[in-house]
C-alpha cells in the first residue's frame, strides 16, 4: 500500500530543492539567452572566422550529451577558476552546473535567436542605416526587439525543456527538487511515493507552462 503521508513533513526540504531548481533555471536561461544572442550575431557576421567559430561552437555543444557537459564542467570549472584568479577557494557544484547549462543551452538559444534575426526584413536594417545608426544600434534598437518578440514562445518552450533537464545536476550531488525528493524518499524508506510525487510536480509545472506558452503564441500571432 502506498503511503504519501510522509511527504508533508518533507515539504520544506523539497521546497528548498525547488528553489534551487528554479534559481538554476532562471540564471541559466538569462545567461544562455545573452550568450546565445552573441553567438547568433557572430554566426551571422560577414567575417568568416567569427561565423566559423560560432558555427563550430553550436554544432559541438549540440552533438554531445548534457550529462557529459555537466560532469566535465564540474571538474574543469574549478581548475579554470584557480588558473584565472590564482585563488584556491572552492567554486562549488552550483556554479559549475550554472556555467555548464549556460554554455550548453546557449547553443540551442543561438539557433532560435538566429532564426528570429533572419526573420526581420533587410529593409528594417537599411532603414536604420539610412537614419544614421551604426550596426550595434541597428541591432539593439531595431532588429533584436522585433526578433525577441517573435521568438519569445520558442525561447520559453526551450526553457521548459531546460526546467526538466536541470534534474541532471543530481550527477554532481546538487540537491535540486528531484534529488531532494529522491534522498528524502530513501531516508524514510518510501522511494516510490516520493518519486511519483516529484513526477506529478514536474508534470503540472511543465504542462501548465506549455499551456501558457500556447496562449502567448496565439496573442503574439495577431
Amino acid at each position: 500500500m502506498m503511503d504519501f503521508s510522509q511527504i508533508v513533513p518533507a515539504l520544506p526540504a523539497l521546497a528548498d530543492g525547488m528553489v534551487l531548481t528554479l534559481k538554476l533555471l532562471a540564471m541559466s536561461v538569462a545567461g544562455g539567452v545573452v550568450l546565445g544572442t552573441l553567438l547568433a550575431l557572430a554566426r551571422l557576421s560577414s567575417l568568416p572566422l567569427l561565423s566559423g567559430l560560432a558555427k563550430f561552437y553550436v554544432n559541438y555543444f549540440r552533438s554531445i550529451p548534457l550529462l557529459l557537459v555537466i560532469s566535465w564542467f564540474y571538474l574543469v570549472v574549478p581548475l579554470i577558476y584557480t588558473w584565472l584568479t590564482g585563488s584556491f577557494e572552492p567554486v562549488g557544484a552550483f556554479t559549475s552546473c550554472l556555467v555548464a547549462f549556460v554554455m550548453f543551452e546557449a547553443a540551442y538559444f543561438s539557433e532560435i535567436v538566429r532564426a528570429g534575426i533572419q526573420s526581420i526584413p533587410k529593409g528594417q536594417v537599411n532603414a536604420g542605416y539610412a537614419l544614421g545608426m551604426r550596426y550595434d544600434q541597428v541591432m539593439r534598437l531595431i532588429v533584436l526587439p522585433q526578433a525577441f518578440r517573435k521568438m519569445t514562445p520558442l525561447l520559453l518552450q526551450q526553457s521548459i525543456i531546460l526546467f526538466q533537464d536541470t534534474s541532471l545536476v543530481y550527477a554532481v550531488g546538487l540537491l535540486d527538487f528531484l534529488n531532494a525528493a529522491r534522498s528524502k524518499g530513501d531516508i524514510v524508506g518510501l522511494p516510490h511515493e516520493f518519486l511519483i510525487f516529484a513526477g506529478a510536480v514536474y508534470f503540472v509545472i511543465s504542462m501548465g507552462a506549455t499551456q501558457l506558452v500556447k496562449r502567448l503564441q496565439k496573442r503574439f500571432a495577431v
Binding site: 532603414a127 536604420g128 542605416y129 539610412a130 537614419l131 551604426r134 522585433q146
Partner: protein, 342 residues
C-alpha cells in the same frame, strides 16, 4: 556646384553590368527621377547613393565630397523605402524621431511635432504603424527620412503600394513638402506620370544605361533617341525624308524646324507624331479614317489610318464623337520636329 554628382558609375553582378557607365548631376533643391521598367538598374543606383551597395567603379560625390568610402550610416542621406520599412515596434513619433539620436530631448520633441504637422499627422504620434492606412504610413516614412535634415532624400518607388487616386494626390503632396523644405531628392519609379508630376529632371534608364537626363518637357518634345521616344508618352513613327537643312517631308506634307545635326538632306528618317500633334480639323483637306477609339473622359484617343494605310494617333476633344470607319479631317501642328535617322 552640383549637390549630387553621379560620375561614370558601373556596377555588375556576374558578367552583365546592372548600371553601365552612368553619369548625371542634381542641383541643390532639385527633385530628380530615374524612370525605367523593372530590372533597368534604377534601384541599384539608389542603393549605391544610399551606401547599401559598395561602389565598384566610378564616383559619387555629395556636395563635392566623395562617398565611396563613407559608410551608409554616416551619409547625410535619407531614404523612403518601397514598403516604407517603418519600425513596427515603435510608435509613429518614435519612428519619426528615430534618426534624431543625439539631439536634446526638447529639440527632438519639437522636430517630431513639426514634421507630423507637415505631413498632416499631428494627432497620430502615439499610434503604431499598423494602425495607419497605406497613405499615412507613406507620410510617416517621409517625415522620418526628413527629420534629421539630410542633404538629400532618396525615394524608392514610393507610391507603388497605393491606389491610383491616392498615388496622384500623394505625389503632388510629397513634391510640395519637399519643395517647402527646400529638400533635394531622387525618386525612382516605373510610372511616367509620377515622374512628370514629381520631378524637375527625369532620367530615362534602360538596361543599366541612362538614355537621357532632362526636364520632362524636353523628354517629351525632344527625346534623345528612339528608346526614349518609345518609352515617354505615346506616338507613332512615320517614314519620311529630310528635304532641306531644316525641313523634312512625309505623307502629310513638308514641315520645317530644327533637325538633329547628323541628319542631311536626302536621309531617310522616321518622324515621331504624338497624339497631340495630330489636330482634328473639319476644314482640312487631309482626311483619315477612324480605326479605333478610346474615350478618356476629357479627350478621345483615335487611332486613324492615313490614305496610305499608315496609322497615327490623334488626341481630340471629348465632344468630337466619331464612329469607327468614319473619315475625319486632320492637320498637323508640329511645334517640334522629332526625327530619327534610319
Amino acid at each position: 556646384m552640383m549637390l549630387l554628382e553621379f560620375d561614370n558609375v558601373t556596377q555588375s553582378y556576374g558578367a552583365a553590368p546592372v548600371v553601365d557607365a552612368m553619369s548625371f548631376a542634381l542641383a541643390d533643391g532639385e527633385i530628380g527621377c530615374l524612370l525605367g521598367s523593372s530590372g533597368c538598374g534604377k534601384t541599384t543606383v539608389l542603393r549605391c547613393i544610399a551606401g547599401f551597395e559598395p561602389l565598384q567603379s566610378g564616383d559619387i560625390r555629395l556636395a563635392g565630397q566623395a562617398l565611396a568610402k563613407v559608410p551608409a550610416h554616416q551619409r547625410p542621406i535619407g531614404m523612403v523605402f518601397q514598403d516604407y520599412a517603418l519600425f513596427p515596434h515603435l510608435t509613429v513619433s518614435a519612428n519619426v524621431g528615430f534618426g534624431l539620436k543625439g539631439w536634446a530631448r526638447r529639440e527632438r520633441t519639437a522636430r517630431v511635432a513639426e514634421l507630423l504637422e507637415l505631413v498632416g499627422l499631428a494627432d497620430s504620434g502615439s499610434k503604431y504603424p499598423h494602425e495607419l492606412s497605406g497613405g499615412q504610413q507613406q507620410r510617416v516614412a517621409l517625415a522620418r527620412a526628413l527629420a534629421p535634415k539630410p542633404r538629400l532624400i532618396l525615394l524608392d518607388e514610393p507610391f507603388s503600394n497605393l491606389d491610383v487616386d491616392l498615388r496622384e494626390r500623394l505625389s503632388r503632396e510629397v513634391r510640395d513638402i519637399l519643395k517647402r523644405e527646400g529638400m533635394s531628392a531622387i525618386l525612382v519609379t516605373h510610372d511616367q506620370h509620377e515622374a512628370f508630376a514629381m520631378a524637375d529632371k527625369v532620367g530615362v534608364m534602360q538596361q543599366g544605361r541612362l538614355r537621357q537626363w532632362d526636364t520632362p518637357y524636353r523628354l517629351y518634345h525632344q527625346p534623345a533617341d528612339r528608346a526614349v521616344a518609345d518609352f515617354i508618352g505615346q506616338g507613332v513613327l512615320v517614314p519620311g525624308m529630310v528635304s532641306g537643312p531644316a525641313s523634312l517631308s512625309f505623307e502629310l506634307g513638308e514641315f520645317s524646324g530644327q533637325l538633329p545635326d547628323e541628319l542631311a538632306a536626302g536621309d531617310a528618317v522616321d518622324v515621331l507624331l504624338r497624339p497631340d500633334d495630330v489636330v482634328h480639323d473639319d476644314a482640312s483637306p487631309l482626311t483619315a479614317t477612324v480605326l479605333a477609339r478610346d474615350f478618356r473622359g476629357t479627350v478621345f484617343h483615335y487611332t486613324l489610318a492615313l490614305p496610305s494605310g499608315q496609322k497615327v494617333l490623334a488626341q481630340v476633344p471629348s465632344h468630337h464623337d466619331h464612329a469607327i470607319g468614319e473619315a475625319i479631317g486632320i492637320r498637323l501642328e508640329l511645334d517640334h520636329l522629332i526625327a530619327f535617322g534610319r
